[in-house]
């Protein structure tokens, strides 16, 4: 029976014994059948969240339901395939023997081993010891192990990290393939274009908090959409002036240019004020907001919600439709 949500968390919080607050009051909703990208810079709390969802660590507070049951319970684990942090296998065993061990633990017949080896394209090297594998092969064996159970929900932690461009392309193709049959995929990444290429929906996490959630297009649209890029001299004077009549949050200096998070319709009036103040404006153009900027904007000041645009919407949180 399909549920609407494959993963649901309520106020999920994890403070490690070291005192680090790695996940802070997280409310995550992953819908059944989607590929959900969990995006955030290094140290944002992605791996910690995925450990919580697989029952490897216990939450400090809050709760989660994963594949219909409490994380780490046999009922939840039975429907979950996961690779968290890094593909971890026995170095002295071959790829195939590692999968045999995993299959025994998971209680699945060993007849499933050959198909998953084929799917991740490891059949030829299955006899070789895990310790002789390249990063890409280790990563693929991790995916194979996660697939052994034929899980409804697949959790992959940075599946393309450490891969060369060729390996990255292959892994992305593989992820697309894995989605078939109504399977839900939750993958984490610190790379935007990665998520843009593979995911239906994205949750952005920074310093343990979910700062935005929605489709890639929604994120782009609601985070300002377009910006004004101005090349002006002297730069400092221009910046000071702009900050005096715009919200300082809307003014940033990137690569020696001023980037204004304002409605492009204001371009003419802004230009007039700069020139009137004696500033030389050598270039003024409207930039489509790149996803990179959205990402930076969302994760820069994560303790308070980032103003989403120059307009009225002050919430950085972008909800999905409905």
């Amino acid at each position: 029976m399909a549920q609407a949500l494959a993963v649901e968390t309520h106020g999920l919080t994890k403070r490690y014994s070291t005192g680090v607050l790695a996940v802070d009051d997280l409310d995550l909703r992953v819908r059944t059948g989607e590929v959900y990208g969990f995006l955030g810079p290094n140290g944002a709390g992605k791996t910690t969240t995925l450990r919580l969802l697989s029952g490897l660590i216990h939450p400090t507070s809050g709760s989660a339901i994963v594949a219909g049951a409490v994380p780490g319970s046999p009922a939840s684990l039975a429907r979950l395939g996961a690779m968290v942090e890094t593909p971890a296998f026995y170095p002295y065993l071959s790829g195939r023997d590692n999968l045999r061990v995993v299959a025994r633990y998971a209680g699945v017949p060993k007849s499933r081993i050959d198909p998953v080896l084929k799917l991740v394209d490891l059949t030829d090297r299955a006899k070789h010891k895990f310790k002789t594998y390249s990063t890409g092969m280790k990563q693929r064996l991790g995916v194979a192990a996660a697939l052994l159970k034929g899980p409804d929900l697949l959790i992959l932690d940075e599946p393309t990290s450490g891969l060369d461009p060729q390996g990255t392309i292959e892994m992305r193709a593989l992820i697309k393939e894995l989605k078939q049959g109504g399977r839900t995929v939750l993958l984490s990444s610190h790379l935007l274009n990665e998520v843009e290429l593979t995911c239906d929906r994205v949750g952005v996490i920074a310093k343990g908090k979910l700062v935005a959630e929605g489709t890639v297009d929604e994120l782009r649209a609601r985070s300002g959409g377009r910006t004004l890029r101005i090349h002006a001299t002297p730069l400092e004077q221009a910046q000071r002036l702009l900050e005096s009549f715009l919200n300082p949050d809307q003014v940033r200096v990137i690569d020696g240019s001023l980037v204004l998070n304002v409605d492009p319709a204001q371009a003419a009036s802004i230009n007039r004020r700069l020139v009137a103040d004696g500033v030389d404006v050598s270039e003024l153009r409207v930039d489509e907001q790149s996803l990179e900027n959205v990402f930076l904007q969302l994760t820069e000041a994560p303790t308070q919600p980032t103003p989403a645009s120059g307009g009225g919407d002050r919430s950085g949180k972008v909800e999905g439709n409905k």
């Binding site: 968290v84 890094t86 971890a88 065993l93 995993v102 025994r104 633990y105 998971a106």
Partner: protein, 279 residues
Amino acid sequence: MIASFRGETLKSRKRWANWILFGILLITLLLFGYVLSYVIFKNPPRNFQSPVPASVLIRRDFPENLLPTVLSSMSTIGAAIMIILGSLSTASEYGWLTVQTILIQKPGRVAVLVGKLLNLGLITLITSVVALGLAALTSYLLVSIDGSSSAWPSATELLKGFGALWLQLAVWTAFGMFLGIAFRSTAAAIGGGLTYLFVGEALIAGLLRDTPGIKEILKFLPGVNGEAVNASFRLSFRSPNAATQLVDASRGSITLVIYLLLFSILALLIFQRRDVTAG
């Protein structure tokens, strides 16, 4: 539980380190416990001095003394090997982070660890059977070469001796396994376990066994209790250096069973509660 037991047996069987440890144990037992002692007592050095003549001492290598000889030969080396084996079985999982891989399969944490315990129990059982079997074979060969005759211990004695061996190997394995989980590092677990064995048991218990206050504490140590159990299997001749035991054999056996349970339960408690992370 059965699932994780099956996974564990496969891992143990394919791990070279386990076979090397097994080999070291058997070679030590047969070479130092039997062959070397036979050769020495057969051709005692000119300055050999002992209240019991070498021609009597040599009988320790014959079937009549199978149990006391195997138990005493195995007591320290067996403990050391089993501490290493137990440590490897858990600490390595943390080193490779494979503990994470097995915990995200189906069985819960208790089932995972109980499966591990069952597998270690099976390994110690096999080790006990093979050690006793090979020692019996060797003693039979030696008595035949010697042209003497010697009686085998009775079936009940054999069973009791086998039980004593298995119990002690199991206690030390559980100790190593517990240390592996507590320290999450093979080096720390093996280092700590062996240091305890050689300093705590062999050195202190050996030197201070008659010191009044300390003696009371020593009565609770696993090695001291194991030694008491071993001493209840007597040699066929009066041994010149038989030490008096601090506890009797039945108290020794009970103490060992308690240690076995204690190490297993402590390991379970830690394993069940603790977060599993790479750090």
